[in-house]
């Protein structure tokens, strides 16, 4: 059966060159990078090299890169670490209503111990209004954390402008760039951010390696106590093979970024046009232009996401959904609710996140396969039945 992977926001396949680069560190170069003897040498050099490559991807200095285990950990360290280190100055943090769970739940934890958090609303396209940030900042505010791009609706936030406002008021800005790093160009200096999270598994690197960019001079309290790894900011022996993989993946991403972006925005346009033309009562979610290059998110009215995913899976297509039924917590997507999608319509959420290896033929296949699935489920749907009756 034909298999089409269009869930790159969940994970990306490992680039063959990345795997190649990792292998020696799973074999002969197994040593501890902190060891002074011969066996520590190669892993130490490999870590340094990976740090340079990751720094280069986002225009940072290698000293500003802290390797961690996942995007979630990077977000936890940025938010809790900065909050703990600066709580004497104030206990107010500003974020948005559409952040990833790792940001949202870190903030909830801080609220439990006395921090106050303002969650900025977004407009119907998912954009944070910079004016609302300016108004929300108080003398108590120590941190702003707003994502660079949203994995569910693809919208890219105006981070440079938000960072400029934060800077004027002397407040640090962290951005969760897990969904965007390696997918769109990022230059931390041009963005003006103080901290930025990125993860290798989003750009053809392995799971288990991610990084927090922390601008020189920004203090952070470590969340894991132990040795002096990562300048004492993240104790525990580094996952050298994964980090080496991340470095290699960052190097390839940097080189291939313009062509990947061109390829993916082309496919995105084709898929969005085809879906909106091929199926009635389908809505694009997120910003129509300011969005991740390979990201297509829609809501299909009268039917539910998981049942579409199951049928797509049967046809060899791997996609995702933000419907209540696909979430283990049985809650509608907070992102779709925040952009004002009717709760019933959020149930028909479908997300195709394309990757560099997807082709025009893949897009054509989706456009051929999905409309009959939608029709079939609508024929089973009491909501569709009612709507048809109303329209007669």
């Amino acid at each position: 059966m034909r298999r089409i992977y269009m869930d790159h926001m969940a994970a990306t396949p490992i680039h063959p060159e990345v795997l190649e680069a990792m292998l020696p560190y799973l074999k002969e170069d197994f040593g501890n990078p902190l060891s002074l003897h011969y066996f520590g040498g190669a892993p130490k050099r490999a870590l340094d090299e990976a740090r340079e490559k990751v720094a280069l991807l986002i225009g940072a200095d290698p000293k500003e890169i802290i390797f961690v285990s996942s995007g979630t950990e990077a977000n936890n360290l940025a938010i809790k670490g900065v909050a703990y280190a600066h709580q004497k100055k104030g206990k107010h943090i500003i974020s948005s209503q559409i952040e990833h769970h790792s940001v949202m739940h870190s903030l909830k934890s801080l609220e439990k111990i006395g921090f106050k958090v303002t969650y900025l609303p977004v407009d119907k396209n998912g954009l944070v209004d910079p004016g609302s940030l300016a108004e929300a900042i108080t003398p108590e505010t120590i941190l702003v954390s707003i994502m660079h791009g949203n994995g569910e609706i693809g919208t890219l936030e105006p981070i440079a402008e938000l960072a400029r406002i934060s800077k004027e008021k002397g407040v640090y800005l962290h951005t969760d760039a897990v969904a965007t790093a390696g997918r769109v160009e990022i230059d931390v200096a041009r963005l003006g951010v103080d901290a930025l999270s990125l993860a290798a598994s989003q750009f053809y690197g392995p799971k288990g390696a991610a990084a927090l960019y922390l601008k020189k001079g920004v203090r952070v309290q470590p969340l894991i106590d132990g040795g002096i790894q990562e300048e004492g900011k993240r104790a525990g022996i580094e996952d050298v093979p994964a980090i080496v993989g991340m470095g290699r993946a960052a190097e390839i991403a940097k080189r291939e970024l313009p062509s990947r972006m061109g390829h993916l925005s082309g496919l995105r346009g084709m898929l969005i046009d085809g879906l909106l033309k091929g199926i009635n009562r389908v809505y694009l979610t997120g910003h129509p232009e300011r969005r991740l290059p390979g990201h297509v998110s829609i809501c299909v009215e009268y039917i539910e996401g998981e049942s579409m995913l199951l049928f797509l899976n049967q046809k060899g297509i791997a996609a995702s959904s933000g419907s209540t039924c696909t979430s283990r917590a049985l809650k509608a997507s907070h992102v779709l609710l925040a952009i004002g999608v009717d709760p019933a319509i959020t149930q028909g959420s479908l997300v195709f996140s394309l990757g560099k290896d997807n082709t025009k033929e893949d897009v054509d296949y989706i456009l051929e396969v999905l409309p009959p699935i939608v029709q079939r489920l609508r024929e089973m749907s009491p909501l569709y039945e009612d709507a048809m009756r109303r329209s007669v």
Partner: protein, 142 residues
């Protein structure tokens, strides 16, 4: 997605008894779109026996499979027998459901009870059905 039993997948991919019964003797609609599931069950009842059962469901794979299964189960049963069909009966018949999907089987039970209740109401008879509507309670409690 791997957690569904083969039987759930079979009933989801090829559901039995999908559709409407235009002259149904009892119709029950339960659930709400915010929770992600709505089930509508149609029953044709003759001399106390369920002759025909059809459904329309908005929801996930488990919601569709439990609708399909509950209509299969009640066909040919008397009302008394049908009222004894519980969500557990449906789960067992489907070789189990993932824990997070158990509420779909509850919805199937409620849809059945609601359709039978409607039958009595249409006949102008006192209904033996005690409606639970736990699904809507869940929503209200959130």
């Amino acid at each position: 997605m791997e957690e569904y039993s083969q039987k759930v997948m079979d009933h989801f991919m090829n559901p039995h008894n999908v559709g409407e019964i235009p002259d149904a003797d009892g119709v029950g609609t339960v659930g709400n779109p915010t929770c992600g599931d709505i089930m509508r069950l149609y029953l044709k009842i003759n001399e106390g026996v369920i002759e025909e059962a059809k459904f329309k469901t908005f929801g996930c794979g488990a919601a569709i499979a439990t609708s399909s299964m509950v209509t299969d189960i009640v066909k040919g049963k008397t009302i008394e027998e049908a009222l004894k069909v519980s969500n557990k009966t449906v789960i067992e018949a489907l070789d189990g459901l993932p824990k997070v999907k158990v509420h779909c089987s509850v919805l199937a039970e409620e849809a059945l009870h609601s359709a039978i209740d409607d039958y009595y109401k249409k006949k102008g008879l006192p209904s033996p059905v005690v409606l639970k509507h736990s699904h809507e309670d869940e929503e209200g409690a959130e």
